[in-house]
């Protein structure tokens, strides 16, 4: 049973820094069961939006509701039990094993004894079990990104209500196989009743995994809706300023972005 009430609602988020507008009346909702992708050019305000949605940054105007309550009303620990965030700028600690790092995903949960078995389970699921005893400082960038994802998923495990997963470019350092593995896992979590919102840059992956797409440009929502509607070559070419083509291979739809300046 997946409840139909959105787990995250943002209404009219407006934020400016030194009079420069960053976000301009951004509204969106993440419903349990759905994978929402936020896409848009660099500097569109995606990461800032994520900071506001996750309650770290207060908007000048507008409000964010997490499971029916204003997000500023949550304590950090309570918020962490409802909403797990994977940031882009995860520092890699030394002197901490992969397993210990994933265990820290359970920091906000009171039952500490289930942390280790759960962390082991997450590593097994993410195909990371062989790295369990490795020091985090000895991981490659891609390995660390997968470990951070495992920690983020561990954080949501066993959430009473449907949890919310916010991911900022979760596959930016991953090879194609692991990109699919990670996003497949994120979509599986959505299907299991969580709400997932991910900032993505790869248009193919977005088209393949997202149920809904929010296209952000210059701090505003340019358009949003079902992925099939938004992921159109003409629209994307216009927004990104480079040529995007669509090719079909036996029913499989793929978008190709060519690194050429767009004609218009």
């Amino acid at each position: 049973m997946i409840p139909n009430v959105p787990s995250l609602v943002a209404e009219g988020i407006t934020l400016s820094r030194d009079t420069r507008p960053i976000l301009d009346h951004v509204s969106l909702a993440v419903t349990p069961g759905k994978f929402v992708a936020v896409i848009g050019p660099n500097g569109a305000g995606k990461t800032t939006l994520l900071s506001v949605l996750s309650g770290l940054l207060k908007a000048d105007d507008g409000r964010v509701m997490l499971n029916g309550r204003e997000i500023s009303g949550y304590s950090p620990a309570e918020r962490a039990r409802h909403c797990a965030v994977m940031r882009q700028d995860n520092a890699r600690p030394s002197g901490m094993t992969v397993l210990e790092a994933v265990e820290l995903g359970r920091l906000a949960h009171n039952a500490a004894d289930d942390a280790r078995p759960l962390a082991r389970e997450m590593l097994r699921q993410m195909d990371l079990f062989d790295l369990a005893g490795r020091d985090c400082s000895r991981l490659s960038g891609g390995e660390w990104q997968r470990v951070a994802f495992a920690r983020t998923v561990a954080q949501l495990s066993g959430a009473e209500t449907s949890g919310l997963l916010l991911l900022d470019e979760p596959v930016s350092s991953l090879d194609p196989l692991h990109q699919h593995q990670l996003l497949g896992e994120a979509r599986r979590l959505a299907r299991a009743g969580h709400g997932v919102l991910a900032i993505l840059h790869d248009l193919n992956l977005t088209a393949h995994y997202a149920d809904e797409v929010v296209l952000l440009a210059a701090g505003r929502i340019h358009s949003s809706g079902p992925a099939a509607e938004i992921m159109q070559p003409a629209l994307l070419s216009e927004i990104y300023g480079c040529h995007v083509r669509e090719i079909r291979d036996g029913g499989q739809r793929a978008l190709i972005s060519l690194p050429l300046p767009s004609a218009g």
């Binding site: 950090p76 030394s94 820290l104 920091l107 005893g133 490795r134």
Partner: protein, 345 residues
């Protein structure tokens, strides 16, 4: 599959084993330091001091209970307090060069003490005005720093470090002024004080410092997991459920209590707060539930040994313990750094 699990458990097991090793070395170091000194006390006498006091010469009893033991314990407590504060501050700032002195408490305490010497007040209140002034001076510095513990997302910690640097510079200027204007006698006292010494140890001071160590240690211990999470960065830690501003405040208060009290009784002693936590991390890994007790034990042993050197090397004269902390701890630290890291799996 199994190798990974074994690797992780082995590493944990080894870290716990090493912590127990440190814990069992600690009483041996205390015992050795209690036995050695201007009057050497044999092992039999040490045993008899507890078991059969009547068999021990009165002079030995007096030396042991009134001078030796409080001094050894004070050194242990001061070393433990400085090392704990260092572990907390380094974890908070995620900076290996962070030192408890960074938050201004040492410089503030030094200023408090130097003002006392300047006006010749060090003997007032039965000698308690001096530690009190040092403690208050340290606290005032930290309170000023606390004003800067507001911002969070936008590099709050970096701002705090920079504020600490500015604060230290200003306190250093004030300190310089008093040193410059002081009479020769006062200047001598000030210089000795800033080199550190455990020579003034008495039981009441041991008890007071023990209380501060317990409070500061508990504040740090209850934030140990948050300190672990902070290693991912402050924002990510907040997403994991850490109340970053509160944790920051508690760590700084704990460090100020620990360093303020230690400095009040023993003067400014460098090196231990910086290096003991690193030693703990090299030996035990980075989790703060291991680093904090490890740093406590290493800091305590380091200062007990340094103080042993201070009162025996040039006997009957005394060396300033601050001269010896680095001489004792430096080579050990360098050896740890040179060793191929035991934390690569």
């Amino acid at each position: 599959m199994n190798t990974a699990r074994e690797n992780d458990s082995r590493r944990r097991g080894r870290a716990h084993g090493r912590l127990w090793l440190l814990a069992s070395l600690f009483p041996l170091v205390l015992l050795a330091a209690s036995a050695l000194g201007a009057v050497n006390i044999g092992l039999a006498d040490l045993w008899n001091l507890v078991a059969a006091p009547a068999q021990v010469p009165e002079i030995v009893r007096a030396v042991f209970w009134e001078i030796r033991l409080p001094r050894v314990l004070l050194a242990a407590l001061v070393g433990a307090a400085l090392a704990l504060a260092g572990a907390g501050v380094q974890g908070l700032f995620r900076n290996p060069l962070a030192d408890p002195a960074l938050i201004g408490v040492s410089a503030g305490a030094a200023l408090g003490a130097v003002v006392c010497f300047f006006f010749g007040w060090e003997g007032l209140l039965g000698g308690w005005l001096l530690p009190l002034a040092a403690f208050v001076g340290g606290w005032l510095a930290v309170l000023v720093l606390g004003i800067f513990n507001t911002g969070f997302a936008a590099g709050g910690t970096a701002k705090l470090i920079l504020a600490g640097v500015a604060l230290n510079a200003m306190l250093g200027s004030a300190l310089g002024f008093f040193l410059f204007s002081a009479s020769d006698d006062a200047l001598r006292s000030m210089t000795f004080w800033t080199l550190g010494s455990c020579a003034s140890a008495q039981w009441p001071q041991v008890v007071v410092l023990l209380i501060f160590l317990a409070i500061g240690g508990m504040l740090l211990w209850r934030n140990a997991r948050s300190l672990d999470a902070l290693q991912f960065g402050e924002e990510q830690a907040a997403h994991l459920g850490v109340s970053v501003v509160r944790v920051r405040r508690e760590i700084i208060v704990a460090a100020a209590l620990l360093v303020g009290a230690a400095t009040a009784f023993a003067g400014t002693i460098g090196f231990i707060g910086l290096v003991a936590p690193h030693m703990a991390r090299l030996l035990l890994g980075g989790l703060h539930r291991l680093v904090l007790p490890g740093a406590l034990l290493l800091g305590a042993m380091l200062l007990v040994l340094a103080d042993l050197g201070a009162r025996t090397l040039a006997a009957p004269a005394e060396l300033a313990v601050g001269i010896l902390t680095a001489v004792i701890g430096g080579p050990f630290f360098l050896w740890l750094l040179r060793r191929p890291s035991s934390w690569s799996a």
